[in-house]
Amino acid sequence: MMDVEILSRLQFAGTIMFHYLFPPLSIGLGLQLFLCELSYYRTRNPVWEAAARFWTRIFAVNFAMGVATGIVMEFEFGTNWAAYSRFVGDVFGSALAAEGIFAFFLESGFLAVLVFGWDRVGPTMHLFSTLMVFLGSMFSAVWIVVANSWQQTPAGYHIVWHDVQGESMPRAEITDFWAMVFNPSSVDRLTHTLIGALVLGAFFVASVCSFYLLKNRHEDIARKCLSIALPTSLLFTFLAAITGHDSAQKLVETQPAKLAALEAHFETRNEPTGLYLFGWPDAEQETVHMGIQVPNLLSLMVYNDPTKPVPGMDQIPKDERPPVWLPFQTFHLMVGLGTMMIGVAALACWFWFRQTLDSKRWLLWVLVFMPIAAMTANQAGWITAEVGRQPWIVYPSVQNGVEMIGLRTADGLSESVTAEQVLSSIILFGIIYSMLFAVWVFVLNHKIQHGPESVEALLAHKAGLRPQSMSEQFEQTGKSHGGDFLEEDSQ
């Protein structure tokens, strides 16, 4: 029988990775949708409206999945990680509650207007609702990333020992709320995470539109949306590289063990440190098989100084070292995919600018598959961040010169929960999530294959809604005045 810790970690990793498929897409798609609708608002061109209505439907399917799988995460802290919840509740809980109050109500409330309000509210209110949903999903990410960053680089707290039936138990308590929110890694990780989501949204729209161009379907709408998706994809892939670099530079101070793991840097030497482009790290033998290393590059990247040595894994006590192989590979995968995405976005923008993208069918096909690359990069980034901080669930830190204890993942578990319970929940959710994933792909594909409504159909639909003016009534029916209209209404 496996033990509760491994199973609980598997369960958490599985459920959060599944959840993390949807919120980045919601955030990214939210911006694209907002820009589409803003274009409609300014130009009143029905092509933009047809596009915005189409993306709304895609957005709604994805949003529902995000909400449904997100509640699981909130419950899991308490169900599986009760000891952790008691340790951090004072700090982590307030961020989670702030997310509920500031973000969830906003996004789910205005989602109703966004999805169901097309024919009920005016264009200004609808545009406003779209913006609120987008902002709500961003705020949601803000609080979650703040809470997660606090665990990685805790700040603004102290440890208080509470007496529990004769035994002293530690708890982290907030001393400075804003220092907790703006802990050393919050801003870097937040911008990088949000930009990762915006990249995904831009590539998602570009992917569907490229597919339509390849199949000669809905070309007017596809071209309009590409004019937003391509420039934003280039902008955000570029920003992702910058913010990623900033995050990585911070690691040397805040989480040197993670940095050493990401680079499989086992031994500290008094010479400049190189950077592995590829490799197969072996933590047992503390070496990298089949590695290709660029000399001095890591020193340059971390310190902006190619000669300064970077501390390695040997600086970290043995029992506080994270696994190496997985964070190394996911980190390199993320960076590799990021570089590729910048290249693809730049090429696509270039040909778009030259108005020759249509003839580059190979590039359109590449664009079709880019959301997979963006999604993989997001997931890989998450694994890097989370596995790289093991064995800590809350990092130890120094606050005002005082050393604060951290919390090990193994000490965060619920004592009352058995391995059988966790295993059965993994099986249950494994089945449910597999089915959900299949249904999500099926419905998404169904929607994309169906495509947006034609502009003619949309205009006909809207004409059917508009209460006709009296002169139009007269022209059509020959009846003279509004009295008939009222009579008809009362029947």
Binding site: V67, A82, R86, G109, V439, H446
Partner: protein
């Protein structure tokens, strides 16, 4: 503000969030419970689902926020409650996921088999969610086997004893009644006639269960009535509760369904208040040793956090309430099928 005052305010605020959840998600869970019984064809099934279409998601947020606020204000209670109800809460999560996707996916594909699957999913997940919420409430009410250091020592089967099951059934009946009145307000013609005809039997079922649970609580959970005995002013809660219950048939008889819906809302509010009065000052009473109980005192966050959170709530809740009102206003009136409907 003193630490104890803050603690009490947060206990009340959690009660407000829980009431908000039970009232709002109460009617949409009820609509799910009634879905197969009231709707006869595909159009009616869509009408029933779309009566809650724009609203259910926002309603569920009250539960999520309740969870977050409990985590922040009383982390020890959050950790113990959630880990004690491990299996029950995973089933509840399954139901909440099932409901969300049933609503979202049902009408996306034109196929009878596809729709029948999601219709069943919608009904089962709504019913089980209501049942599980009631069972959890019943367990908290009667106390649980908490050992030292806040850890639950009982088993899943003990959580399914007769008393929590009764409370679960009561919850299902209450939500069905609440949802039925809501449907009566939102529908027209034949469907509305059917909803109206169902209100009376649902009311009798609820009233019967309400009487049984009241007697059972009196007999089985003696500590539940202690607070009322000590503070006679609190008698007002059960009295208002009884009046609200009786007002439902009266309002229907007067032909004022809106008033009836208000009454069923008040019933939920009063029941939730009664629950809070009964458990105070505990979150969870230990049946092993009252010393091991999770109380307001030993479960709360630091004073600093409670204060910060109060500011957050003070900024956030007016916004939440104002856009909740706006959205309910935009989607007022009888439910109609539109191209954007489920």
């Amino acid at each position: 503000m003193s630490y104890d005052t803050l603690t009490f305010i947060w206990f009340v605020l959690l009660g407000v969030l829980l009431c908000g959840y039970a009232i709002l998600d109460g009617f949409d869970l009820g609509v799910g419970i009634l879905h197969p019984f009231l709707a006869k064809d595909d159009r009616e099934r869509r009408l029933v689902m779309n009566s809650i279409g724009p609203l259910w998601d926002g309603n569920e947020v009250w539960l999520v926020t309740f969870g977050g606020a409990l985590f922040a204000a009383f982390p020890v209670a959050y950790a113990t409650v959630f880990s004690s109800f491990y299996t029950a809460f995973f089933l509840l999560l399954t139901c909440l996921i099932g409901r969300a996707v049933s609503l979202e996916f049902r009408s996306k594909v034109h196929s009878n088999a596809w729709r029948r699957i999601w219709d069943t999913g919608f009904f089962l997940s709504s019913t089980c969610a209501a049942l599980l919420l009631g069972i959890a409430g019943g367990n908290v009410m009667q106390g649980m086997q908490l050992g030292a250091k806040y850890e639950y020592q009982g088993s899943l089967l003990e959580q399914l004893s007769w008393y929590p099951l009764l409370v679960g059934l009561l919850t299902v009946a209450l939500f069905a009644l609440h949802g039925c009145i809501y449907l009566y307000l939102k529908t027209e013609h034949e469907l509305q006639r059917r909803a109206k005809a169902s209100i009376t039997p649902l009311f009798y079922a609820f009233a019967l269960l309400y009487a049984i649970v009241t007697l059972a609580t009196w007999w089985h959970v003696p500590h539940a009535t202690e607070n009322i005995a000590n503070y006679p002013l609190l008698w007002i809660v059960p009295i208002l509760n009884a009046l609200a219950v009786l007002n439902i048939p009266r309002a229907m008889h007067l032909g004022k369904p809106g008033y009836a819906f208000f009454s069923s809302t008040m019933v939920i509010l009063a029941l939730a208040s009664l629950f809070s009065v009964a458990i105070y000052p505990n979150f969870m009473l230990s049946t092993i040793d009252p010393e091991f109980s999770i109380t307001l005192q030993n479960a709360r966050s630091s004073q600093n956090t409670l204060q910060t959170m109060l500011i957050i709530a003070g900024l956030g809740m007016p916004c939440v309430l104002s856009y909740t009102v706006i959205i309910y206003w935009i989607f007022r009136g009888k439910v109609r099928l539109e191209p954007n409907s489920y």
